[in-house]
């Protein structure tokens, strides 16, 4: 298993990388951490004519806190750096909690935030987390820069809104609001495997501990991570009681339309999606209740 021949460029500056992308477009693949692309090359599932290795673009490896409490993470920040970052743990604990679920530490040492998001594996954690957090994705080309909302970024199976001439440069995460709780739950066959199904939740409580706003995102159960709108609506105005959570979980089970594959049957994914929703919501409510307004 060896990659087919390709031409290799390792630009030292972002502008240089953008010019290469402009020139080669669909013939080129961007190589970041390589934890998905390298296996695809070795198995010859991908045979790009050109590889543009962005690992020398050190300007894209930042993790920055914004004055308003938001977070900006450069596309080339290693998953391990994000996992170890005190800033991330304080300002966006949901991201910190998701990191150890990604592969193994050897993989996170190389794997990047931008790489995982641009690869858009439907069973990956980061796309689901960014959708839950309503993150924004900054992409650049020689023509300029644009920001894409997470809900418009993931288009389908391993497909994003990034154009062939564009490079994902940054992920912007809005500041966490007061009285918000979060949770991520997943089931995988073995530690570090892709999730058979997973759920990310976020709940915002009002003064009397009822939910006024929520997000319930399921991953690993379709072409891309999806919010379950009916379950979110059902949760609105509810407190954390068993009956309410069971009703929301049932809505998730009913509304999921997953595929059956070698890892799990559709029926299993629907059932477990509901169970994980209930668990995730319990944890999210607990966290939100600890937050003071």
């Amino acid at each position: 298993m060896k990659p087919a021949p390709f031409e290799y460029f390792a630009p030292q500056a972002i502008d240089e990388a953008l010019k290469l992308l402009q020139k080669y477009g669909e013939e080129a693949k961007v190589l970041a951490g390589g934890q998905s692309l390298m296996p695809l090359l070795s198995l010859r599932l991908a045979r790009p004519a050109v590889i543009i290795d962005i690992n020398r673009l050190r300007d894209l490896a930042f993790i920055r806190s914004e004055p308003d409490g938001g977070l900006r993470i450069g596309a080339l920040a290693r998953q391990r750096a994000v996992e170890r970052s005190g800033q991330v743990a304080t300002q966006c604990p949901l991201i910190a909690a998701a990191m150890p679920l990604i592969g193994h530490f050897q993989i996170r040492n190389r794997g990047t935030i931008g790489g995982s998001l641009a690869h858009a594996d439907p069973a990956a954690e980061l796309p689901a987390v960014s959708l839950t957090l309503e993150a924004e994705f900054v992409v650049r080309s020689t023509r300029g820069e644009r920001a894409i909302a997470a809900k418009d970024f993931f288009l389908g199976y391993m497909t994003t809104a990034i154009e062939p001439s564009e490079l994902l440069t940054e992920i912007r995460i809005p500041a966490t609001r007061p009285r918000v709780g979060w949770a991520i739950e997943e089931v995988a066959r073995r530690r570090g495997d892709f999730a058979m199904v997973g759920v990310v939740t976020l709940v915002e409580l009002n003064g009397n501990d009822t939910c006024q706003n929520s997000r319930i995102v399921v991953f690993g159960a379709g072409e891309k991570p999806e919010r379950v709108a009916r379950a979110e609506r059902l949760l609105c105005g509810k407190r954390t009681d068993e009956h309410a959570l069971a009703e929301v979980a049932k809505a998730v089970t009913e509304d999921l339309d997953p595929v059956s594959d070698v890892h799990a049957s559709a029926e299993y994914r629907k059932e477990v999606g509901g169970v994980l929703t209930r668990r995730a919501l319990q944890n999210a409510f607990k966290r939100a209740q600890k937050e003071t307004a």
């Binding site: 298993m1 390298m38 070795s42 050897q106």
Partner: protein, 158 residues
């Protein structure tokens, strides 16, 4: 339109300069160009962990990197652990605890454990199990490997 590149890497303290084709993985480069065949290749797509080495001090899978990407880097492979005839404490512990049978996965486990203990010199058993979760062994059932890593960390084992 050349896809060949000259790279310089330091492996186990020794510097090498070679002309490599861009598509050659770091694992194949170590084995075929430098004759450092201690690094083993199992799955060649980032699942088994047999090819784990240290790149600038961090454990990585050498099958999932191109050799050209290691230009300027410092690498440590299993050949760099022993001091002459004296085994590294991890290697000694693997021998003492019978933490290998066929030995195919061992270089990957040793390098994973080495990087892990550098970061967490006094781990709990649970942390050791978590650390080796990305490496596959089909002989031992993992128990002796966990014991060996704990022994190397200075924890008493029976």
């Amino acid at each position: 339109m050349s896809s060949k590149h000259t790279i310089t890497v330091t492996v186990n303290g020794k510097s090498y300069e070679r002309l490599v084709e861009a598509r050659v993985t770091l694992a194949d480069f170590l084995r075929n160009e430098l004759d450092l065949t201690g690094t083993h290749l199992g799955c060649e797509h980032g699942v088994c962990g047999a090819c784990t080495i240290l790149l600038n001090g961090e454990a990585v899978r050498s099958c999932s990197l191109l050799a050209v990407q290691a230009d300027g880097a410092e690498l440590l492979t299993v050949e760099g652990l022993a001091r002459g005839a004296e085994l590294h404490p991890l290697q000694q512990a693997f021998q003492d605890q019978h933490a290998l049978q066929c030995g195919f996965c061992t270089p990957g486990f040793l390098m994973t454990a080495y990087a892990f203990l550098e970061e967490r010199p006094k781990p709990t058993e649970t942390e050791v199990r978590e650390a080796i979760s990305g490496n596959l062994c089909r002989c031992t059932g993992y128990q002796p490997i966990v014991k060996a890593i704990l022994q190397a960390a200075g924890k008493t084992t029976t």
